[in-house]
Subunit: 364 residues, 4 copies
């Protein structure tokens, strides 16, 4: 249903990059969840652009919660989070109204909306809209943590540099969530940053892979057909601009394994809990969680805005032409996308858990 996602917990998104405001309405959150606006602000900071990848701290997006929270707690009714667009002066977009930026949604928006879409700054397709998802997740994540469920994402690969792998999920997740540039090995992170800056100086951009772990999710969540854990998560994740692939567990690497290698052997641990010796299946069998950490990776394509000259079309004159992006642009959005993935994961799993355990579960 278009801009609405979720069953028991649903989120509705709206807004354009240069309109009055963007926002999200999140419904189905249990009544009685404490809302920490400082935590929400800290999450939003993780997706803010950083100057030349330095740590020069910027202010988070100024959000207001306009409904659904009363006296510091969720009421159980829809929570409207609004983020006004600060600077919407009408600069000249003339050229970009007609010249379709390659790799962007300019042309497809034009086709879908018959020429009526707001073309300024990507309009409704702008990555800026994800800020509303992050703010919404800022209410859910602390409540999931209280239930022992932790979500963390690291930059598994960026600009052709690999990060170290997860070794201790619980502690790695906590460490990552304290970092602005989410790598497990900070040396690798420095190499990534160097390569990003190199691409920037070439007027170009780079992509990467984000790997996410969810620790503490109980067994038995998900459905066998259609609303599998993989199906619901990927449905939501592919909304993030630039995500072009999603794989669970060992994903595409499973294709070259034999069955005897790819299967995860079950065993009872010393406390009588069922565990698996390996986790090639990413904590999911038959679409349903098995109690092991849920693991997935998202492919993030390089930012399409580059200043090197590119071929394209002018849909006004109906001629072939060229285009070079002017001004400053993100040479990489991998490090910024990470908190968006955490947020979408939190919202989607909260939906599935609320379906399973009932509307009040999150607050119990």
């Amino acid at each position: 249903m278009k801009n609405v996602f979720g069953n028991s917990v649903s989120v509705t998104l709206y807004g354009e990059s240069h309109g009055a405001a963007i926002g999200a309405v999140i419904d189905g959150i249990a009544p009685g969840i404490a809302v920490d606006e400082e935590f929400i602000a800290s999450l939003l900071l993780l997706r803010r652009p950083s100057d030349a990848l330095s740590t020069s701290r910027r202010e988070a997006d100024p959000f207001t919660i306009e409904s659904g929270v009363f006296g510091g707690f969720t009421t159980g009714t829809p929570i409207s989070i609004r983020i006004p667009n600060g600077d919407t002066r009408s600069k000249d977009y003339g050229e970009l109204q007609y010249k379709m930026r390659p790799g962007h949604a300019d042309y497809t928006a034009q086709q879908k909306y018959n020429g009526f879409s707001d073309y300024r700054g990507g309009g409704h397709f702008s990555g800026r809209i994800t800020a509303a998802l992050v703010a919404a997740a800022g209410i859910i994540i602390p409540a999931l943590n209280k239930k022992g469920i932790y979500i963390g994402t690291h930059i598994s690969r960026c600009a052709c540099v690999d990060d170290a792998p997860f070794t201790d999920y619980e502690n790695d997740i906590k460490a990552l969530n304290a970092k602005q540039f989410a790598v497990l090995d900070d040396k690798k992170g420095e190499q990534m940053k160097e390569n990003i800056l190199k691409a920037k100086s070439n007027g170009d951009s780079v992509g990467g892979v984000l790997e996410t772990a969810v620790f503490g999710i109980p067994a038995g969540v998900g459905e066998p057909w259609f609303d599998t854990v993989e199906g619901l998560l990927s449905h939501a994740l592919f909304s993030i601009p630039a995500i072009k692939g999603v794989e669970f567990g060992d994903g595409f690497s499973l294709c070259d394994m034999t069955g005897s290698c790819a299967n995860d052997a079950f065993y009872y641990d010393e406390n009588g809990a069922v565990k698996t010796r390996t986790n090639h299946n990413g904590g999911i069998n038959g679409g349903i969680t098995n109690g092991m950490p849920v693991i997935f990776r998202c492919a993030v394509k390089p930012t399409p805005t580059v200043s090197v000259e590119q071929e394209t079309v002018n849909i006004n004159t109906k001629e072939n032409t060229t285009l070079s992006a002017a001004g400053r642009h993100d040479p990489c959005i991998v490090h910024r996308a990470r908190v968006v993935i955490d947020s979408i994961t939190a919202i989607t799993l909260c939906d599935m858990l609320t379906t399973k355990f009932g509307t009040d579960w999150l607050a119990k």
Copy 2:
């Protein structure tokens, strides 16, 4: 919503491997579509197991259409397709009731359904259920073809052997759809089969990658948030047992490209149509089709049923134990899954096109 998928066109699945019947109810198909039961039977044959990968022809699953078709045409009301389960004698499943097969959904089903699920032959998690999806798609695919939309899938990689890539989408798709073992290079196909038989003789199994192309889909299909083409297709595709990754266009390979390389330059062709020079983005920008072929790849893990001994748990005695699958099993399901992917793709795109163009579109 669990076992129902789709908005304007929806499919409801039911059935267990050893129950009375499996089936699908498909709703929202335009009235007036000619139904060709022979074509449906031919599609079903593509997912039937073949003996030792030989071509010994077997009969397709015996389906009946019990509603929604009258005088050879769809009526516009729900189409119920039922496939009875032929041989449901109650053999002894005693051990498998309690010993959880690694890589299968036995344990997660047990957890989700509190011990009440039908454990015989995988129950509701059985790949057999996909036959109902294939039969449903057998009504839609010829109607899409009349609209100039063609869907084809090849075994891009299997048992560590790569097939040739797509070179001419339209003709490659037609060629693939005439083959039982869907490769573009038959020599590579022979090598794949050899490796599959080798794995079989070792009591083991192999996986692979299936690559799908959709030719002829118009620009402007899909939504920017949540119901993106990638989101809806992946949601449905991950229902297929053994699929653990989905990538669009160049997918994970995009991560190592620069933006200037990954972007697909637009141009007007000699007929004034907007095309792209490359198709790294798989025919989708911002979640919406751009008129180029839609391309995606699915990772198929090796069949989890293997006859080599594996560690597991007995949930009755609550002890660690071992298990070896007895009898004959598919050493590979990649070649059989291909028609299931085509079918889910046809159903999902038909849903999106019907939403865009209205309920009668498919028959116009």
Copy 3:
């Protein structure tokens, strides 16, 4: 979503009056519910036509449960219930193919389905389809009873005769559910039957009002906007052919009351439970249950099939013409519709309760 209804518990309907079979797929029922096929058969008997309203017992519709039940208990996966159409010999419907029966869906089906719908016996619009809903409810009702929730409907008015009102909900419901002709005052029932037979002898038909009470539903069920108890129940109830009005509590009679009279005063009873002195609001305030019995009434129009001559159109010749129904027809369906209302109520409330309390609630 057309032929699918429900969120946490959903039902998918299919079938035509003269097709191979009708059926329902019901999904989201908790695993572990005991299934009593005899009880299902007894419910189905309540909606069977009775010969001249006598009690000559007939066999119920022969249903089979084809999935979702194993060893006598629900598995938690979709339950497919199939009812074959016994007598589908192709009698001559020539005239009815083109002459649109007034008060029926012949003309609207023709318009909606562009002439492709199955016109035999009402096709997909036939009241016969409700048998599948009744069978589905036959699984849910005993489980609701175990939770202390009882549903009962009486013929509040029929053929211009009023039944006695509810006086003791709990016992009245139990008494009604044991009766084939559901009245609280059997003398009034006899008068109704007389009037029905009188209408029949005139080649005409009569309607009535069905009043339903739900006892034992907890407070706090329903949503303030859109998914109110009234909204969801009426959405489902208006599917029943012939229902043209739904009112809750005192319904239309509330319009002439003053606020001080219409309000239901709250009080603590001797056990400290909150009750209301009156129940003008039918157990629902602001769309949400308040713990008092939920009360509603459905208007059932007279059966449109009558043997007196009626004006209509022939859509083949495009001429005005006349039509008289031949053969035997129900002079009244009020008494048969009652179990369909109970069934839809059971399914809808089970959906709402499962959303509130989680997927396993019904079996706990």
Copy 4:
């Protein structure tokens, strides 16, 4: 799905009476619809309270459209309409926090939301939220008018006074839409107002019946099962606080008719169009429009806020107590609810028509 309604066109509601803002996000509106903010303001004026029912003109609710409209036209992306709550000073609600107002949702909200709901001024249950629905409809209604579809509602009965019936749908609708107090016979309107003021002077309130006609809707809209026209409209209409009954065509009056009287005879008119001689079925057969005007009536209960003393409970002290509303209150909301019904009808029918004719239909 709780606070979201609709399939192809959906509306998401949020807000509390005394929160920062209320609003609606409406999605699925075709791109290219001209947006007339003055018309929206004029609609909002129709639901504003009028002082002692005099015509002292008040300002409409100050709304802003924050997304989905660009250059005066809809973009096709979600339209966010926000109405800030002007006067939210924190007056003392102490007593009303614990004393449950009879006839209101105070107690059910308390039960559903475990004591966390915003109790001030009815919170999320406030009729004020309907302003957002009216504003959303203000975009749709002019576009439906361009398609020849007109919606109008009159106060069929109020304070025990009957209005004149519809005689000429098209012109009656236009006349009604120009009136603040929507009656067809203004003398009857004066009597209604007198009776309302009489109830007010008694510290009491009155209810009524609103009758709606939709002119110009084509045949073939709606679904046979579940998503009938009656089912979808009633689902939405019952969200309006105070609506306790919905009937279509002659509704409950049909129950006392014979079939030969209740059936609407079809005929070809002089232009070859199929019409019915009568319209007892309210333009709907089998859940689907037949091309005649769609007619329905809603029962509006008397406003529950009255200043006469009422029994109730104090949930803090857990004692029986009494309550009299202080200050000024609406002695009647029937005349204000009329535009809310028009609005919900416009949104719901636009959804159904968009499903049938495709996403761009409204702008074509």
